[in-house]
């Protein structure tokens, strides 16, 4: 949408920069422009040679099969090359034999030819199947690695990298590796086999011609190196440009309602056209550099050929070379130079895959900012009937990496089994507090303890079993309503799911859906209102049955009956849990045992709702403001 009035210059040449977003976008106090954020870029830093190492590690489990494909290809080539040889034998041997009425040799040759034909066909079949297996296994592995790794990366990373880029890594970048694995392997081996075979023959025919041909490979190598380098640069740009197109495309389609309501179509098209153009230029550049490579390499080959022919002619004249050897050598020279185009094609797909692998490797090299512990510690067991856990913030301070401090150093203890409401204006640090407790982030200093155990010592599974955070974005995944609730506890039975839905008052609307709990939310996803989605989110949390529940503005879209149901659930199903509720609705705050008022990252008031209302502080003022607004 940068085409509106005050947009940054739309360079087109660097779409990545155009779509990079500021790390501190919504975080007051972080004064760094987007360009400084290493994560908000398309190319993430990766160790040198990471793409090749990645490729190697993908192919490593199939090492045996890789060699098998080499063997199959060589055998296939041998079967194919036997044809001309058999023709020669037939003419030299079978013809005289037939004239003697001896059909044996002819039959043998016919049979041999048939065997070769069948062998070349079957070997080809085997080769295609085995190499497809190698390629597809590698792709499956790679896709899985990207997906799983993306899930372990912290929210903080996702907020900056954008979903479009990640999609692009998992789709188009994987696709370019697919192209390499599909045809590249065959191409490469074909080239190697033919170059080796022909050079050996040439050297055997006449070593001088062979040497001259080898000499011609010097300029060819220079051209290839140049092409390789150019091609990698182009493909790097291309993958970035593709990602930019995808980012824009995904954003538009995911926000189609506001796009249409605010008549963004024309402006979007303009912006998309610029990105699309940039992408097209990278395609053109890739094809042009390929064309230039083909032209120069072919030129070098043909000039060398002409030169060697003339030189050889003088050697024949001088008696240094047999005419027959020359004739053969010249024909073989042609064949030697034949695969230079294929080399170009191979290099092209190789560099395209390399550029993509580089970016994937960069993504995989990202370490989660909230790492799993090396030696996880289990939580001490608690007496039955006390389902809550004590939460302690010990000397915690939190600042964004870019420097802006959100929470100055503080200590805070939340008693087990109590409900704490956190209020305060936007930017006061409420959400950050919640995210530290749910370990979306780790504190810059200090630690968060759960019944005395630091969160950093808990395994991810253990942590999520005990601490669940419900955020304001009630996103529904593809699948049924029941599956969406079951996110809270994957092994839950249908009865568990329905019970959770009933407890939160979602059962009625779910059963009213066309297929009840089995309604596909994507097909009718537009029809499940924001409030209903928040109820589904709550049902998830109920089903998860955590000891600590964190609600980050999770009730905003609920209507009053919905809110009533949530409060009922808090008092019944979630009774005895430690709850941290960030809410702006005073009615929600009422049910809390304790209220924390935050301002500028500090807790400025702390007490029971009644105490605070009676006082003269901010909470009382908030309260009054609200009353006045209704007057």
């Amino acid at each position: 949408m940068t085409s509106t009035v005050s947009g940054p210059p739309d360079t087109g040449a660097r779409p990545a920069a155009d779509d990079a977003k500021g790390p501190g976008g919504g975080r007051p106090g972080t004064g760094h422009p987007a360009a400084d954020d290493p994560v908000a870029q398309d190319v993430l830093p990766a160790p040198k040679g990471a793409s090749l190492a990645l490729l190697r590690s993908l192919l490593a489990p199939a090492r045996g099969r890789v060699w098998l494909t080499v063997f199959l290809l060589l055998a296939q080539q041998a079967a194919v090359q036997a044809g001309p040889l058999l023709v020669a034998v037939a003419i030299d041997r079978a013809v005289p034999a037939v004239r003697r009425d001896d059909y044996g040799p002819l039959a043998a040759i016919g049979a041999a030819y048939l065997v070769c034909a069948v062998a070349s066909g079957l070997l080809q079949l085997a080769f295609v199947r085995v190499s497809a297996r190698v390629g597809q296994d590698a792709l499956l592995d790679l896709r899985g690695r990207i997906f799983r790794h993306a899930q372990t990366l912290s929210v903080d990373f996702h907020e900056r990298y954008t979903s479009g880029r990640l999609i692009s890594r998992a789709t188009t970048d994987v696709e370019s590796l697919r192209e390499l694995l599909n045809d590249g392997l065959q191409e490469l081996m074909g080239i190697v086999a033919s170059v080796l075979l022909v050079s050996a023959t040439l050297a055997w025919l006449d070593w001088r011609t062979g040497a001259a041909a080898a000499l011609s490979f010097v300029p060819l190598a220079v051209v290839m190196r140049g092409y390789r380098r150019r091609s990698l640069t182009v493909h790097r740009r291309k993958s970035t440009a593709t990602a930019a197109v995808i980012v824009k495309f995904a954003e538009t389609m995911n926000g189609i309602r506001p796009v249409q309501a605010f008549r963004r179509e024309a402006a979007n098209e303009e912006h998309f056209a610029a990105l699309n153009r940039a992408h097209r230029e990278t395609n053109v550049d890739a094809m042009h550099s390929m064309a230039r490579y083909v032209m120069t390499s072919r030129l070098i080959c043909n000039v060398s050929l002409a030169a060697i022919v003339v030189w050889s002619a003088y050697r024949v004249a001088g008696g240094g070379l047999e005419l027959g050897a020359l004739a053969a050598a010249v024909l073989y020279l042609r064949r030697l130079y034949e695969p230079v185009d294929q080399i170009g094609m191979f290099l092209n797909s190789y560099q395209s895959a390399a550029a993509s692998l580089e970016k994937i490797a960069g993504l995989l090299a990202q370490r989660p900012t909230v790492p799993e512990p090396d030696r996880p510690v289990p939580l001490p067991s608690r007496p039955a009937g006390a389902p809550g856990l004590e939460v302690v913030f010990e000397g915690v301070r939190f600042a964004y990496r870019t420097g802006g401090e959100v929470l100055p150093r503080f200590d805070l203890t939340l008693a087990a089994g109590r409900t704490v409401a956190v209020v305060g204006s936007t930017g006061a640090g409420k959400s950050t507090l919640a995210k530290l407790l749910a370990r979306f982030y780790d504190p810059t200093e200090g630690r968060v303890l759960l019944d005395g155990v630091p969160l950093t010592d808990l395994s991810g599974t253990e942590l999520r079993r005990h601490v669940v955070m419900v955020t304001q974005e009630a996103f529904l995944f593809s699948g049924t309503v029941a599956e969406n609730i079951a996110v809270g506890r994957p092994d839950a039975t249908r009865a568990d799911i329905e019970q959770a839905a009933k407890a939160i008052g979602a059962h009625d609307f779910i059963t009213a859906l066309p297929d009840g709990y089995d309604t596909d939310v994507r097909k009718r996803g537009g029809r499940i209102s924001a409030g209903q989605r928040q109820l589904v989110g709550f049902a998830r949390a109920l089903l998860a049955d955590p000891a600590v529940v964190v609600l980050d503005e999770a009730t905003s879209s609920l209507d009053i009956p919905g809110e009533r149901a949530v409060q009922r659930a808090m008092r019944t199903v979630l009774r005895g849990r430690t709850a941290v509720v960030i809410a702006h609705r005073l009615s929600t705050v009422e049910i809390a045992d304790r209220v924390l008022v935050m301002a500028d990252g500090r807790v400025v008031e702390d007490g029971t709702p009644a105490e605070l209302t009676a006082g003269e502080g901010r909470f009382a003022a908030l309260h009054r403001a609200w009353r006045e607004s209704l007057a």
């Binding site: 949408m1 009035v5 005050s6 500021g22 919504g26 972080t30 760094h32 422009p33 037939v98 030819y113 080809q124 079949l125 390629g135 499956l140 993306a150 899930q151 907020e159 954008t162 979903s163 998992a170 495309f249 995911n254 506001p258 008549r263 179509e265 979007n268 699309n276 097209r280 094809m287 390929m290 064309a291 032209m295 072919r298 002409a306 002619a313 003088y314 004249a317 020359l326 042609r334 305060g424 936007t426 999520r464 304001q472 996103f475 995944f477 996110v487 994957p490 097909k523 009718r524 537009g526 499940i528 209102s529 209903q532 998830r540 609920l558 009053i560 609705r585 049910i591 607004s629 209704l630």
Partner: protein, 622 residues
């Protein structure tokens, strides 16, 4: 998950050629260059045949004769031909590069353009991953097909035909032997084509589904993080990528089998020709030299014939990619009323479908009459969401819309700017039927703040300015002030110039909501629709925004979806939506007294001992 397609293979299998022919309108601009490219490819291939002849001539002639001047001539000829060959090869690629990239870009732009204009109902049905995979991988495949497969399909077929003519001229009996595999091969290719395109199509659809899963797992990352791993999502991903692999392996098996036969049969035929030829040579009916010449021509045709295997595969994949592309592009964009003096240039065009009702005065406000709506893909038996909504909002009036969760409030608001089209009844703005207004004009008149405030990857200022066609910095400041967003925007690193990320995720819900509100009010629209506009605001801010919003609402005709009394109190009157109809209209206090459902929806949450503001109203309860 494959059920997300619109036409799940319902129509009978179409031939690949028919599908590919549909590309013509896009390829048309590039036709000259493409044709020239094909001609150059033929010439280059010819050159590759001529160079060996030149070599042979040089070796057999001047070199054998020890004739230095001839040698130089031969060398020169080889050099010239070689330079020509290199030039032709390169030129072909240079020539087609830009037009082909252009074809891909044009197709993608057309796709994007079309999608933006398709109704929201379409987007509800289609997973965005399916759309995305069409716009990326499918179109890239088409470019590769046009750049490479198409040309070589033509060139190689031509080579094969010419080759066979030469073979038949050399020895027609042996030529016929070589022609024998043609019929089985054609039949085989047919059946291959049918099966392969099915597999290719499946693979492409599965990649689209995979894209969807990836996209969702990123968009829903907070939930995944909040609950630990989303095992269902992970299972879906693993199952789907395993399916993609299985389909790709099936494709490979098919291709391998085709390839095997394409190699086997012609080779066997050559073998047969060899055996027969040897007999003829022995009988003296043929010279050995003639047989060798015949067989070398046949062997030279080996590569063009073999290449048909993967060229066919590529063409089939391109054909299914084309089908997938047109599946979306063929979905008609609903007709739009002609804009007076609009792009169509039809000034004073005849009145749109329906003449504006004359009985309505220009200042009639917003009127809904017998409005019905059911989702296009709703099961046949299901009742419509809205079944006869009648509502009149007077000019300048603010109407609150209240209703139970899922009663269709948001659906109703979507009908006014025609994000969805009402199934029956009519909606008028100042007497003009919305169906008769060009969408562009309609959406200019009506501004919406959605329940879920979506921000785009752009600066704060740009996001807000989207709401007003020619709003400037002053209006921006005013709109931000109304939404009480001026404070936090100023505190952002670059103020209103700060980019908010994809979907504005780095802003809090309340901040996003305020920006969306500012976006709705900046253009001073005649009609304003606010869907629960203050839900994510903290108490303090809510009170401030309400105060400022009141001034805006005083001069605007507005419909405000409300979930709680504080929002309702922004309105002059309230309408209760129940069971697809407007069940009651009146003031908040009256409805609270007289309507049980309304009272239930608006009365204090249970836990609240004293939800103060609400309790004031409670006083008036019967």
């Amino acid at each position: 998950m494959t059920g997300n397609r619109e036409a799940p293979g319902a129509e009978a299998h179409r031939s690949a050629v028919r599908s590919l022919l549909r590309l013509w309108p896009f390829v048309r601009p590039a036709r000259g260059r493409l044709l020239a490219g094909a001609v150059l490819a033929v010439l280059a291939s010819a050159m590759s045949l001529v160079i060996p002849l030149a070599l042979k001539w040089t070796v057999d002639g001047p070199i054998a004769d020890r004739e230095p001047s001839g040698v130089w001539l031969g060398g020169l000829a080889i050099l010239v031909l070689g330079v020509l060959e290199a030039g032709l090869f390169g030129l072909r690629r240079l020539l087609v590069a830009r037009p082909l990239a252009e074809v891909e870009a044009t197709m993608r732009a057309a796709f994007y353009r079309h999608l933006q204009r398709l109704p929201v109902a379409f987007h509800d049905r289609w997973a965005s991953g399916q759309l995305l995979s069409r716009a990326t991988t499918d179109l890239m495949l088409l470019r590769i097909f046009l750049a490479f497969a198409l040309t070589f399909l033509v060139v190689n077929s031509l080579t094969i035909v010419i080759g066979f003519v030469i073979l038949l001229l050399q020895r027609w009996t042996l030529g016929l032997v070589l022609l024998a595999p043609v019929i089985p091969l054609v039949l085989l290719c047919r059946s291959f084509e049918a099966r392969y395109s099915l597999a290719a199509r499946t693979a492409q659809d599965q990649v689209g589904d995979l894209t969807t899963v990836v996209e969702e797992s990123v968009l829903g990352i907070r939930i995944i993080k909040g609950f630990g791993r989303h095992r269902g999502q992970q299972r879906a991903f693993e199952a789907l990528s395993a399916r993609v692999r299985a389909t790709e392996l099936r494709k490979a098996r098919l291709l391998g089998a085709l390839w095997a036969v394409i190699m086997l049969l012609p080779e066997a035929a050559i073998g047969a020709a060899l055996v027969l030829g040897v007999r003829e040579v022995a009988d003296g009916g043929l010279t050995a030299g003639a047989l060798v010449a015949f067989l070398s021509t046949a062997l030279a045709l080996r590569w063009p014939v073999e290449s048909l295997g993967f060229l066919l595969a590529l063409s089939n994949e391109a054909a299914t990619a084309t089908d997938r592309y047109f599946e979306v592009l063929d979905v008609p964009v609903p007709d739009d009323a002609v804009a007076p003096g609009g792009a169509s240039g039809a000034e004073g065009a005849p009145a749109p479908k329906e003449a504006p009702a004359s009985r309505a005065s220009p200042g009639d406000g917003l009127r809904l009459e017998g409005v019905e709506f059911r989702y296009p893909d709703a099961p046949p038996g299901a009742p419509p969401v809205l079944r006869g909504v009648d509502l009149h909002i007077r000019p300048g009036e603010t109407m609150a819309l209240v209703g139970a969760t899922g009663s269709g409030k948001t659906t109703l608001t979507a009908l006014i700017p025609r994000l969805h089209e009402a199934t029956a009844g009519r909606i008028t703005l100042d007497g003009q039927d919305v169906a008769a207004l060009p969408r562009e004009r309609l959406r200019e008149l009506v501004a919406v703040a959605f329940e879920e405030p979506t921000l785009f990857s752009a600066s704060v200022g740009e996001n807000v300015l989207m709401g007003g066609a020619d709003a400037g910095p002053d209006e921006l400041a005013r709109a931000l002030a109304v939404a009480r967003a001026d404070g936090f925007v100023r505190a952002l690193p670059q103020g209103a110039e700060t980019r908010v990320g994809e979907q504005g995720l780095s802003l809090s819900g309340g901040q996003r909501q305020r920006l969306a509100l500012a976006r709705a009010v900046i253009g001073k629209p005649r009609f304003l629709i606010l869907d629960d506009p203050l839900s994510a605001l903290d108490v303090h801010t809510e009170a401030q925004v309400e105060r400022a919003l009141r001034e805006v609402l005083a001069t605007t005709t507005a419909l405000v979806v409300a979930h709680r009394p504080s929002t309702v109190l922004l309105a002059d009157r309230v309408a209760l939506l129940s069971e697809g109809r407007i069940a009651a209209v009146g003031t908040h206090h009256r409805l609270l007294r007289e309507n049980r459902e309304y009272a239930w929806l608006m009365s204090a949450p249970e836990g609240g001992r004293a939800p103060r503001g609400d309790l004031q109203e409670g006083d008036e309860r019967p």
